[in-house]
């Protein structure tokens, strides 16, 4: 069960009208290393994790990622909300407009729609936690590229910086969980 809180995890009030940036930012909404992939990956893997610690961590990080999905969606929405058709066309968003108007959609800047193929889940806890460490690093990298594209707009940079920092923290927590899972398996190792 989940409970919705009527607030963002970090305040967002986008001043930018940079539609080209919105087009790139959607990478973190419905792209391969985006927030949708992250939350669905962790919330799916947790069912078969071997320890209470890993089950809790995947639940909690997966839940936080839903909040990050909301933050990215908010940024895209606020950039695009009052854009005219001409402005969308000039920014190369005419294909997007044709399919989704000003609405949000789970796709990436190249127009590829989100797919479950982005999700890692091989069920082995070492394999999956390693994939999650990689996923956090990929998301962090993408946020760095997005910050380079944000034209110094602080109303975009502040939430992007926050999201970037959260990837660092999640990376650290997954790293710690991986170590404890290795210890757990070593404890259970016996020879006869």
């Amino acid at each position: 069960m989940w409970i919705y809180e009527k607030k963002l995890q970090f305040p967002i009030d986008v001043k930018s009208k940079d539609l080209k940036f919105a087009k790139t930012l959607i990478a973190q909404y419905g792209g391969p290393a985006g927030e949708l992939t992250a939350c669905l990956q962790y919330l799916n893997q947790r069912f078969t994790m071997p320890t209470g610690q890993t089950r809790a961590l995947l639940t909690d990080i997966g839940t936080e990622e839903i909040g990050h999905l909301e933050m990215v969606g908010t940024m895209v929405y606020q950039i695009m909300e009052n854009a005219s058709v001409c402005e969308l066309k000039d920014a190369g968003l005419d294909p997007y407009y044709t399919l989704h108007d000003h609405g949000l959609f789970y796709s990436d800047p190249n127009g590829y729609n989100w797919t479950a193929d982005y999700v890692d889940g091989l069920n082995d806890p070492i394999t999956d936690l390693t994939a999650n460490i990689s996923a956090e690093q990929k998301a962090k990298q993408t946020y760095e590229y997005l910050m380079n594209l944000a034209n110094g707009d602080e109303s975009l940079l502040a939430p992007l910086r926050f999201l970037w920092q959260r990837e660092v923290v999640h990376y650290q927590r997954f790293g710690e969980a991986l170590e404890t899972v290795k210890e757990y398996y070593n404890q259970k190792k016996y020879f006869c």
Binding site: I3, E5, L8, Q9, D13, D60, E64, V169, E176
Partner: protein, 105 residues
Amino acid sequence: MKKFNNCPAYGGTAVANNAVPSQKTALLELQQLSFSLVDLNLYLDTNPANQQAVNDYNQLFEQYWEAKANYELQYGPMNNFGHCPATYPWSWINDPWPWERGGNV
């Protein structure tokens, strides 16, 4: 329960402070407190035996519930069930939603 001290529906009294903070200020405080709790939550998942972190969590928990109850009293419910008494008419449906202009700053 202590966490409902500020909710009139639970027999408490409204905000004790003279100055009621603006929605922006109240929301920012709530975001800061809940962020600290989320971050400590993740830390404790992988460091469950850290007594100092548990103490910090419990201290922030008290502050969070107080701030949340005060916020909801002034600016409407943060959750749609079970966390705060309902008003008449049902105010959960009121704008702004978090993604809307002015919705969170």
